[in-house]
Symmetry: C2
Subunit: 405 residues, 2 copies
Amino acid sequence: MRKPKIVILGAGYGGLLTTVRLQKLIGVNEADIVLVNKNDYHYETTWLHEASAGTLHHDKVRYDISAVIDRSKVNFIQDTVVEINKDEKKVMLEKGEVEYDYLVIALGGEPETFGIKGLKEFAFGITNVNSSRQLREHIEYQFATYNMEEVKDDNRLSIVVGGAGFTGIEFLGELTNRIPELCHEYDVDQNKVKITCVEAAPTVLPGFDQELVNYAVSQLERKGVEFLIGTAIKEATSEGILVAKGDQEPWEIKAGTVVWAAGVRGNAIIEKSGFEAMRGRVKVQPDLRIPGFDAVFVIGDSSLIINEEINRPYPPTAQIAMQQGEVVARNIAALIRNKQQLETFKFDNKGTVCSLGEDDAIGVVFGKKITGSKAAFMKKVVDNRALYMIGGASLVLKKGKLNMF
Amino acid sequence: MRKPKIVILGAGYGGLLTTVRLQKLIGVNEADIVLVNKNDYHYETTWLHEASAGTLHHDKVRYDISAVIDRSKVNFIQDTVVEINKDEKKVMLEKGEVEYDYLVIALGGEPETFGIKGLKEFAFGITNVNSSRQLREHIEYQFATYNMEEVKDDNRLSIVVGGAGFTGIEFLGELTNRIPELCHEYDVDQNKVKITCVEAAPTVLPGFDQELVNYAVSQLERKGVEFLIGTAIKEATSEGILVAKGDQEPWEIKAGTVVWAAGVRGNAIIEKSGFEAMRGRVKVQPDLRIPGFDAVFVIGDSSLIINEEINRPYPPTAQIAMQQGEVVARNIAALIRNKQQLETFKFDNKGTVCSLGEDDAIGVVFGKKITGSKAAFMKKVVDNRALYMIGGASLVLKKGKLNMF
C-alpha cells in the first residue's frame, strides 16, 4: 500500500510547529512528511522589529530549519510556492512540483498597502529578514550620509512609521533606544532627529486596554516620538509622505525613511489557487480545514477564525499559529489512522505583551495588566517559549533571550 | 611685551605632531599656541581603507585631540578654516577669526578628480571618517538590498575602484577580505560579486619595486580582483563608469559602487588665500617656509618638496608630514628665541609598506624587500609608530594594533 504524503507549505510558527509535532506523532511507515520553504531558515517574525531597528542582529532572529527537523522523517525542499493545484492535489514550485494527500497551508501573511500610492516603491517593511536588514542598513546609511553633505538635509534624519499597531509600536520602542547610539556613532546631533508615527485609526494599539495604551504613548513621546492619530497616509513619495485628517487638505511630512507597519493580509497564493478568501484569509472550519476540501488545512496568518465573544476575527499572531499547528498535527495523524472524528480548534489566549524596547513593555498576561520591567521580562518569556515549543531547551539555549534579569 | 602667537591649522599627522612637539619645547610664558581643527578628533588617514571596507570600526581610526594636547599650553579651537589673510596675518574661520605671528598650514590634501565628469556626484571617497563610513554603509546597503529585489540586479554587487595607487590597493586588500563576510551576512552568492580596479597609468603602484608589484597583483587577482591597467575612467554615472584604453571607443562597466582612490591634491585654501601653488601644493623653502613669507610654514599634503635623486616630488605620506612637523616645531622655537639660523628639512625614508589585508602586505623597509605576514607585521609597526610619535605609549595601548603576532 502506498504511504500517504503530508505536505506542509511554510516554515513559520505554524508550519514548523506542525512539522515537529508530526515527526513525533507519526511513524516512518505511516506517512511521508514533506516541508517546503523558501529559505533554509526559520525566522522569528515577532522579533523583526529589533533586527529592523538594529538593536538585535538579524542572525539572532533566525535559525536553520535543519536544527529542528528530523531528516530521517521529514523531507525538506527549499523552494518557493507558485500555486496550489487543488484538483490534481499538487503544489507547483518554482523549481518543480510536489503531490500531496494532505496539505497544510502555512505560508504566512503579506503586507497590506490598501492601494496607497507609492508605498510599495518608497516605504520599507518589517516583513522578513531581507526587508528588516535592508531597513536597518537604510537608516544607518542616512546617518552616515548626513555628515558628508555640504548642505545638511535634516529630512534624512526624519523617520516616519505608518501604523501604531503592534509592529509599529514595538519598532518605535527599539528605534528610540537605537537613536542615541546612532547619533553617537555617526556624530549626529540628536535634536536633529525626528520620529513621527502616523495612524489612521482613532487610537494607538486598537483593542488594547486604554490604561496600557496611555502608558505606551507617554513613554514613547518622552523618548521623542510624535503621534499623529486619526491621520491617514495618502501617498508615499521619494521625499516623504502626504497625510490628511478626515477630509482636510493633505499636508506633507518630509522623511528620508518611511516604514510601513500597518497592515497584514493573507498570502496571495490562496486566491491565486482559487480558494475562497477575504483579503487572502480563508475562513476555516473548526477542524482548520477549508470548507469543501477535506485534505487541506490552513493555519497562521492566512487563516481566519472568529472570536465569538466580540464577533470579530482573532488578529494573526505567533501564539494562535502555534496552537493551530498543534491541532493540525493531531488531526492529520487521526486522518491517516482513519479516525474520522477530528479535534476542534479553540484559541487559548495566554496573553499579549507589546515591547517598548529592551527594558520596557506593556501587556496583559493571564488576565493581569503589567507594565515596565516586569512586562519586559514577560516579553522575553514569551519569546523564549516560541523557541521552546519548536526546538526544545537546546534551541532556547542557542537562540533564546537569556539576559532576563 | 606681548607674547607671540603660534597658530597651527589642521590636526592631521603634520599639524598634531607640530603641536605636541611645540607644547614640550616652548614655555607657557614664551608663546601662545593655538590649534584649529574642523573636528575635535584626529583620524588616521592611512587606516581609512580599513574603515571604508568595514574591516575596522571607524571609531578605532580616530582619537580625541584632547587626549594628546596639553590644555594649559594649547588653546584648541574647533572650527573650519575659510581663508588666510596673509597681509593682516589672520585666519578667517567659519565662526570667527584668529590672528597669528607664526602660522603652520597643515590642512591636508583633497581628492583630485582631474575634471572627470560625474566623479564628484557618483563616486565615493576614502578621504576622511565621514566619507569612509558612508562608503562602508553604502556597500552594506547594496548587499542588504540585493536579496529584497524581485528581479536581482547583479550590478549592485559590482564594485569599481578607480586608481591602483597606495590607497586603491590597500582598500582592495581589505575589501577582498570583507566580501566573504558580507556574502555570509547577507545571504549573497559570492560568485555574483565583481571587483574591478581601473588604473590609467601603465602599472599598478607606480614607483614601487616591480617584483613586489607582481606579488600584490597576483594576490589580489587570486582573491577575485580584475585589473584594467592603462585604462582611463572617462565618466562616472549613476549606473557605473565609462572607461577607455588610449583613443579606443569607451565602454561601460556597470557598478553599484564606484570608489575614487586615484588622486590627491593640496588644499584649496592655499590657492584661495593667494599663495603660489601647483595643484594646491606649495613648493616650500628648505626650512619649510613659503618663499617670501617668513612667518608661514606649510607641511604635509599641501607642501611640495623635490626628491633630488629622481628630480620628482616626494609623494605625500604620513611619514614625511610627521618628519616635517618635528622640524617646524624646532624652527618656530628658534624664531621665537630670535635665532635666525633655521634647520633644513631632509626626508629620511624609513621605508614603505603597502597592506594587502589583515595578514598580507608588501614593502621596502630599511632598504629590504618584504612580503606576506612579515610585511603585514611591519605594517602594524608603522601604524603603531605614528600613534607613538604623537601620543606616546599610552595612545598605542589605547588605539594601537596590538594583534601583532
